[in-house]
Symmetry: C2
Subunit: 339 residues, 2 copies
């Protein structure tokens, strides 16, 4: 039996403890300072507030100040499951914890914009965390709450070091949590961030052309057309960010886009835009007080489009989303600009 | 202004008359012997029974016995929009009509199984129609009724002859009907047929894992996982059928799969299977009297899997669908067989 340290006790970090403990491993689930409420609840034996069942007894719950270097030193695998806002905290924490080299798997995703450079966590994090042996990027269509309920879920663990990814997969895979091993870390990280952004545009099509002849009131051609366009544009941007086109056409790309359009905050924002609201209107209404990751990504994509220059004509959906988010204008994805 | 002859006055053939006539062309919409009711209705100025609005006055409605060689001879483009069952009728009709070489675009899709050979219409039809100058395969995410209502729709026109496909696209494209030009005719035809088959399996996931915490009662991870798996398997089979993998990752593949899972008879069959019913139970219930194209495709995919032999282990979703359709067993797509 192995020991797995999970940093971040949000819904995703906590959900990952479910397959890990089902495999008989000892899990140390450590919260960030923002997870105190969830930590208290789980320490009292209750489920995580956003999950449906309590964790196994082999999961040790730790508050942010309770996680110690020996937890890291004894871990066979470390998983980081903080939000993108927490990634700097996680990097610092790992530097404080890690006295020996360890492989770290990140389910956190995001793009970074520093100076002229736009990069994924696959480039940014390894030089920042001195004792990280190998970086693993986790991608694919996984809503945490469903994983926590043992609903069949596919994901992808990618690393430049195949053995490291394959080892993590052996620890984490269960009959309901099926894991592919990949190598295109930059591509997985790029797609994981871009899918939140593109979800805004695809989800807008779910409300833009109402169809009263269907129970869900959706016209399907525009949704499928926008979904396909999003996948093509993700492949293009994935390559610009140092990844491979193929990655966008598999679990971390179209698979994750599919699940993200299926529900969540990025999708809700898109639905509002489809009805003709602006981003500020939706954020003041249904999404008041929430963080929508696709908005932060849109700011970086805007910089990326500028950097790419002329090629950006190939990305009409990205331009439409950027225009709506950055300039707080009505979302207008003009199909007549395609082909 | 051009003249376009559309053979087949089903819902798709008729819907194609909408963008064509919006572009100012003269359309001759000819029914098959099975279209008599729709033809009578449209001749009386009413809409096609499955469309929402009547056609323009520039569309001439013809019964099967009214279409003459001069209609073909004067046509700048011929489009065949019959069902797969009608494709032999269409080939014979074209041989009777065509005295000069003409390009023919087929929106009809299907796979053929003759002797040892499993082929797409892209291989089967050109040698059968002596005066067909170029074959165009039409694919992509297009529900006919939505196209008929001028809802934004993307499609792909593919031909070995680029100029022929580009010419057809110029005639047919409107601001709401956006058309890409392609060259992988076999791939487009393979995907167009396979997407009906795979829709059965993906749609089964919409009902298999109910999730009461959502308004649509669907768990999203299994649907997205199966959708992604279907796309990967389509790419594999597309190549086996003489097409290119890339075609499965674009409009004719994942795009069309997306729209087909969105609604229609293949999807309804899948939903029934997801609930635990067998194909014969669903076909005796909700789908009584209907033709489900994915069932015919499943028989051909079964033969294809046999022909491929060992490689078929790579296609667990195809095997699960074939098993359910051919042996009338419960649908059982075991995620634990993946990876």
């Amino acid at each position: 039996m192995a020991r797995i340290l999970i940093l971040g006790a949000g819904v995703m970090g906590t959900a990952l403890a479910v397959p890990a403990s089902d495999n008989g491993h000892y899990i140390f689930l450590a919260g960030t300072p923002l997870d105190d409420a969830a930590i208290a609840s789980m320490k009292a034996g209750a489920p995580h507030p956003k999950l449906d069942a309590p964790l196994a007894e082999t999961v040790t719950i730790l508050a942010a100040d309770e996680v110690m270097p020996h937890h890291a030193a004894n871990a066979d695998l470390i998983i980081v499951g903080v939000s993108s806002e927490g990634v700097s905290w996680a990097a610092e924490k790992l530097n404080a914890l890690l006295n020996v080299k360890k492989t770290v798997a990140f389910v956190t995703k995001g793009l970074c914009h520093e100076g002229e450079e736009i990069s994924t966590y696959a480039e940014i994090l390894p030089p920042r965390i001195s004792n990280m042996a190998h970086f693993i990027g986790i991608g694919g269509p996984c809503i945490a709450r469903e994983l926590g309920s043992r609903t069949p879920t596919l994901s992808l663990y990618a690393s430049h070091n195949h053995a490291a990814a394959a080892f993590a997969v052996r620890l984490m895979q269960t009959p309901y949590y099926r894991l592919a091993v990949g190598h295109d870390v930059s591509g997985v990280e790029a797609c994981a961030a871009l899918k939140n952004f593109y979800t805004i545009g695809v989800s807008a099509m779910q409300t833009r052309y109402p169809n009263l002849s269907r129970t869900d009131n959706q016209s399907k051609n525009p949704i499928a057309g926008a979904f396909n366009q999003a996948v093509q544009e993700m492949a293009f941007l994935c390559e610009k960010l140092g990844g491979q086109r193929e990655t966008a056409f598999d679990l971390a790309g179209l698979g994750d886009l599919h699940v993200t359009v299926g529900g969540g905050r990025n999708s809700k924002l898109g639905s509002g835009l489809g009805k003709g609201d602006t981003v500020s209107q939706v954020m003041a209404g249904d999404l008041a007080g929430e963080t929508v990751e696709g908005i932060a990504t849109a700011r970086i994509v805007a910089a990326l489009l500028e950097k790419i220059g002329d090629d950006a004509r190939k990305l009409p959906l990205a331009h439409a989303i950027v225009e709506a988010v950055i300039n707080d204008r009505e979302f207008n994805f003009d199909f007549s600009k395609l082909f």
